[in-house]
Subunit: 340 residues, 4 copies
């Protein structure tokens, strides 16, 4: 089985595992009040070059999203593009905290500010929810990334309309290390109100680091977390992992490796003249493959079917720090034998 | 520092760590659909001697509690004794899912069915919530445990009043291995509608195994979990750990060790004529210590202040599989030097 | 001011007022347990020719919608067309009870079952909400109505996909008395799982009658109502009004009058060659009017701006039992003077 | 049947009915944006001698309570005494908006600040909800009222602990007109953060006027109302009624009449040597009556059983503006015949 199902199919990077092993029997207080967590926070503050932020560690992405969005008042809504993770793949977790998601059509997986502008202009009284947060993911659910210029426009738009800008960074590692990326952690800290740095999909066993820039969103966030069941008892496990990720640039190395493996995979697809559903340079590759071809190889590859037309499937291949070259070569051979 | 702060101050049992390490780079599908999770489920089914249950793995206790209780209808309430974890220490997580907790005074940390009966008898119309679930923890927040006879009475009471019986087993390991315990996993499976087996406080890195007995509570539970942000991406981490806990009776060994260390600690307290706030034979010890004594030793011990009177503190000491004999001996010496 | 703003701009029909006045100082028990409420229930059961239904009276439409939809489980969602009242004009009331609204594009204000089918086919795992209810309004927010054939198709679709069919009848009076309508109350009772009969927009001072057909939705509904603050203390006010509406066919007379006044208004618009944004034969008329014309008359008419293009407005005119002929004639004259 | 069941057993005061009748067919805009509502707001502002408040009209008490309390953040809680309406008789409506009610034992139906102080002192970390609002009702559920001195102490307590003071004034009419009352509307406006003036139980057909003093609680309250289904379409019905209540001191006259009728009733009970469960001088009377006596008269009186001991019932008799002297005299005769 050649494995391209997702970037969380394995455990964690060996350096992370070593850190967890080394500290395993140390005694610390719980709930993220330990020193490892403090060290991880200090390292992230340094990386984003901003000391006046609040940082919290959570176990997963949906959990992080629902905690953040539950900061809104009952009648306040979050705007997302239709493909946004919160809108599609969180089983109503956001609505379950009481908040409506207002959607606009995506453009290559990214949010379209013209559509947002129109949506907001049509929102005018207490009969309708009050848009208060703009949600984007970077990289997006389609693997595309935002440019610095786009990020600045998002900030301006949010300023104009009194919105919080929230970046879901589940795949921020792949985004920031993509060849075409001109955004840095410093930029995120400068232009967002709140964002999270994904660990789960970037080499951690699990964990996301939430960075709160806007003072309005800071007070009592730990209460929100506990209120949503999102405070890990052995919180130091998150601190140890993020300390690891932000030591010796491991976070970047892991993201870079995922993208490199993706590029190797793209080379294979190109060689076989396989066409793309959408192009990007991060670790998610979306190809269009004839159904009859897919049916011949499906037992030997692990990837996701993301959609279909009459004759073809849209398939998603995801790479990670742990994607094996042998799997890529195996796929090459498999395609060669199938397509010949 | 002699460490008795809680039973989740360290990482995990070495066998668990080995299992996580060994499987670290294997590729599996996510969300608990992997084979390790299936193996863990099979082992638990065998342990409880019941094959027709649904089993799900979650990361933490509050998360598990809020998922379970959100199965109730909006107007249905859960009954807990006042000291119940859901009532005191979950920051309103249950209410946040929309459900009222009806409380009755505890008796030694346990629920009092006479008080429950009175409460239900005073609940008579649509102006009041409808009691639908009875929540107990075993061992309780005061370290006490339920007897088999009490468990059967709880079942009868729940039958009579059409309530689900839910057992929070965060510290089930310590409960089932306590000397005075006459309950088995089979009993729990026989008399409860739903219960969870705590991993976090019994040697796992994290994780709880939820066992659903009652068919009414089974459908679509994975949806509830996702809806609350409680599906771990790398779900196999939970499967691997619970497979470990239910292999070679590790779950029992860990609970037993915690209780043994507690007994050693009790011997020390007895020797120093220290009195107890409440007695039990599990891994939580509640002593009464004069404030002036505590102030002299507080920098050298890690334990929790659970309450106070004018001159004394109620202190909680918790032991675990990883409580060191040297800490117990150190405490002995410290008390000797302080009390002499 | 010629008044076409909506169908709830006035108090109530004189027969209703008389009934409220006549009974004003009688003493009854509260919360809808009185005899007037029982009489109203009996009259509605007779009208829908179904004795095995549960009927509850609520004050308003949004309140009714949120009570009904909160019957769903946390992860269950309701499907609505994009223009559905619950999706646009209830300030997130549905989401506030924890439920996602899945939307499909409307066709003339009506739901499109092909789009629903596609939506459901793309909903396949616990990562996504589970569609469980289909919401339609009749007449729709655009004044259009469903035919009997369409209603039967909706029923079949719901059977196929295990959905509850819920009809928001805020303007059911205008719908059932429209010339093109081939649906009766009996049909609604036959094909829906739950629907409500709007009083507020059909001559009552306030009030909606909720009819529950499906046994699964019946238990403890009064608890849901109380839980949402939707039980009126002096519940008999609702009973008295609905008794009035279902005596001497008053409900139909009021709906018919609204539609008749709308037809008189349409004749005026036709005379002046004004074009329609959408056509229907109920009491909401949507016209397209040049902005410069509107600006000249806006101080003399009360109607709603529902949208705009570069040069024109989409205006909504609503008639009711209390729409005055003099207002219609006044508008005619105004248009004559403005357009000449 | 002698009727003392409650103070909302009849319709409304004749002046209110006249006002509703007189304005019935006038056309106004909806949702409380009409001129009658504005006039009512102006009258209340004058009555409380404070022009910088926000005032909103809602249909019922539970609805008002749940809207107000949903202003809190998810982890914030409201403190109430155990007998508080929100805690007992609202079917979990507050918890349904996600908030925990922290309870303290009542003292004569009133909140005990010592108990509140202790509760707050035991609330110390993100594991527990954060108390943020203090809820009292005046008159209380036991008919007792707060003195000015108590009100000031409540304000001081709330200042000390950073709590909002919220007064549920469902029966404020009876409270403010009680002989022992030394509180005025001006006092409420001076010492509360938010309170509501009950119409339903003081002569209106329905309706409560919410007065928001604290600026933090003002923004977008109409959105909260819509979000909870609490905006009445024909909002002017509320404006007309409250305009009526605050014209010619009708609000006071109605409260006074209720209390006068209660005093007549007390005279009867005194004459018959019937003892009281609790004493107060408002319109709720709680007596203790032997069960065998009650059983003899129960078919001829409408009152509520509020509790029981072995041999006696606690009965609640409620009077209102519409309590008939003939009912009081009838009860006198009935007691005479039964007790002789």
């Amino acid at each position: 089985m050649y494995y391209f199902l997702n970037d969380y199919s394995e455990g964690c990077h060996e350096d992370i595992l070593k850190a967890l092993t080394k500290t395993n029997l140390e005694s610390t207080c719980g709930y993220g009040l330990d020193d490892y967590t403090k060290e991880a926070i200090a390292l992230i503050k340094k990386e984003i070059n901003n000391d006046s932020v609040d940082i919290h560690f959570l176990v997963g992405g949906t959990q992080t999203n629902l905690c953040v969005i539950s900061l809104l008042k009952p009648y306040e809504a979050v705007i997302s593009c239709d493909t946004g993770h919160i809108n599609v793949h969180e089983c109503g977790a956001i609505e379950s905290t009481g908040h409506k998601i207002l959607t606009v059509p995506n453009k290559n997986g990214k949010i379209d500010l013209d559509a947002c502008e129109e949506l907001i202009n049509n929102t005018s009284s207490f009969h309708m929810v009050l848009p208060k947060m703009l949600y984007i993911s970077n990289s997006t659910e389609l693997g595309t990334i935002y440019t610095k210029s786009e990020l600045i426009k998002l900030r301006d738009f949010c300023n104009k309309h009194n919105l919080y800008l929230y970046v879901d960074g589940a795949r921020l590692g792949a985004a920031l290390t993509a060849k075409s990326c001109d955004i840095t952690f410093e930029d995120l800290a400068k232009y967002c109100d709140i964002f999270y740095i994904g660990g789960t999909k970037n080499g951690a066993m699990f964990g996301e680091a939430l960075v709160i820039l806007n003072d309005e969103l800071k007070p009592n966030f730990k209460y929100i977390m506990k209120n949503k069941g999102a405070v890990l008892a052995k919180g130091r496990l998150l601190g140890i992992q993020f300390k690891g990720l932000f030591t010796n640039k491991l976070f970047y190395k892991i993201g870079l490796k995922a993208n490199e493996q993706a590029n190797k995979l793209r080379a294979i697809f190109n060689k076989h003249n396989i066409s793309y559903y959408i192009t990007n340079d991060t670790n998610q590759i979306f190809i269009i493959l004839a159904k009859n071809i897919y049916d011949k190889i499906k037992d030997q590859i692990a990837c996701e079917i993301n959609g279909s037309t009459k004759d073809s499937y849209i398939l998603r291949f995801v790479t990670s720090f742990s994607t094996k070259d042998s799997d890529i070569l195996g796929l090459d051979k498999l395609l060669y034998n199938t397509l010949k």
